[in-house]
Symmetry: C2
Subunit: 243 residues, 2 copies
């Protein structure tokens, strides 16, 4: 049953209107009809099943039959990544599929792409919605506005166990640090040219642990996806139900 | 120092000629000159450092100064993946970066792309060379010609611990099987629409273990990259030097 996104859905909803791009997807791409069954999520843990009640010129009204609430497992895993020249969408798509909680794009010394337009940011959010739907997930990760790395570290260091992947760190594999994490986790990966040493020092001063992702140099986007896949693998070992 | 690929390099080489696309890359894209230092690998564990001796109209002659041999860690990790409509290159690129040993593309019941042209296969091999060079790796994974899944299972089952990722398997996380692997590992991931049940049964008959990659449904290419990242993460935990 195809999954749709409606941020207005609540666990007490009995009827919901689907509008905008989701409306067009349902009506034009999937050619759904009145009476067809669909699933809807609000991207925040609620999953509803229902039937299309009416297809109108600018919205579809859906009758909700059942609603369930699915809890996201702790610790949440988020990722802070340097804006890349290309491949920001790849990071968002793949890490959303994996179940990442939040994205913190940032700009550091060697970041080539020093800003992102509102359109590009909107496009990243659409990629996340699409990945969530495609993978039958009910959590839509938040994609924050980009910050300078120093500002980001300042903002998040109290609430996260920050784990920064650095190609020059050789003695601390990721698993040794995941073991010690007591709060939600924020993985941090740098730009195409890597972090400057003073950025790594600053991250340490804010309490970040510095880790290695292994003995191969990885492209920036591969490091991001790999760090997430490995952090989730670790959680699955502690809790096979980890979602 | 940029890394180049020359399959002719041997550990006793004192001089080597670089030809073909590597020649053009060196001369035209990187504009290297006589006397410049470069690294060369044969893609099979040999790493040489040397200096450009002569730039000629169709080859570059390199004087080798030092040669080292880097051993690939056991168990080797390989991946068998269904040919995908798109994203075959993404799988090859990301898994080469991660250090995968061999690729076995295959065709199964729900594979949409039932064949691959020699050109496309050649393109995949070029993607692997480029990923190896970019990541300063000295092992070029072999990309085999595609086979039917049944033929593939028959050919590889004696030499590999086969581990097949299936979205309908919920009770066996990957780590429980990695723990038991005694031979080299071949991870197996299916096409966009997943495996048919009879294919999973056949894989089991050939001794394959069936595992879950977690509680989110992953796109086919994400499953491939994730399985490799997680299998390598596991090896790094056993052996921090795993390469």
């Amino acid at each position: 049953m195809p999954l749709f996104y409606s941020p207005d859905l609540k666990d007490i909803s009995t009827r919901i209107n689907i509008t905008g791009s989701e409306y067009h997807h349902l009506k034009t791409s999937l050619r759904k009809h009145e009476g067809d069954q669909i699933s809807i999520t609000n991207g925040n843990g609620i999953l509803a099943k229902g039937r299309i009640n009416k297809i109108l010129p600018n919205h579809i009204s859906v009758q909700i039959d059942t609603t369930t609430s699915i809890e996201k497992s702790k610790p949440y895993i988020s990722i802070a990544f340097s804006l890349l020249k290309k491949n920001n969408e790849l990071i968002v798509e793949k890490c959303t599929e994996l179940g990442i909680y939040e994205f913190f794009p940032f700009i550091s010394e060697r970041t080539v792409k020093k800003s992102i337009s509102l359109n590009q940011l909107d496009r990243l959010r659409k990629v996340a919605i699409s990945a969530m739907k495609q993978c039958d997930s009910v959590y839509l990760p938040e994609i924050h506005n980009p910050l300078q790395i120093s500002e980001l570290l300042k903002q998040i260091h109290n609430n996260y166990n920050m784990i920064l992947a650095w190609e020059e760190e050789q003695n601390t594999p990721l698993h040794t640090i995941l073991k010690k994490a007591k709060k939600d986790i924020c993985l941090i990966v740098g730009p195409e040219g890597g972090f400057e040493e003073n950025e790594v020092t600053l991250a340490k001063e804010y309490g970040s642990q510095i880790v290695s992702l292994g003995n191969h140099i990885l492209r920036a986007e591969t490091a991001a996806i790999t760090a997430c896949a490995q952090a989730i693998f670790y959680q699955l070992k502690q809790n096979p139900e980890y979602y």
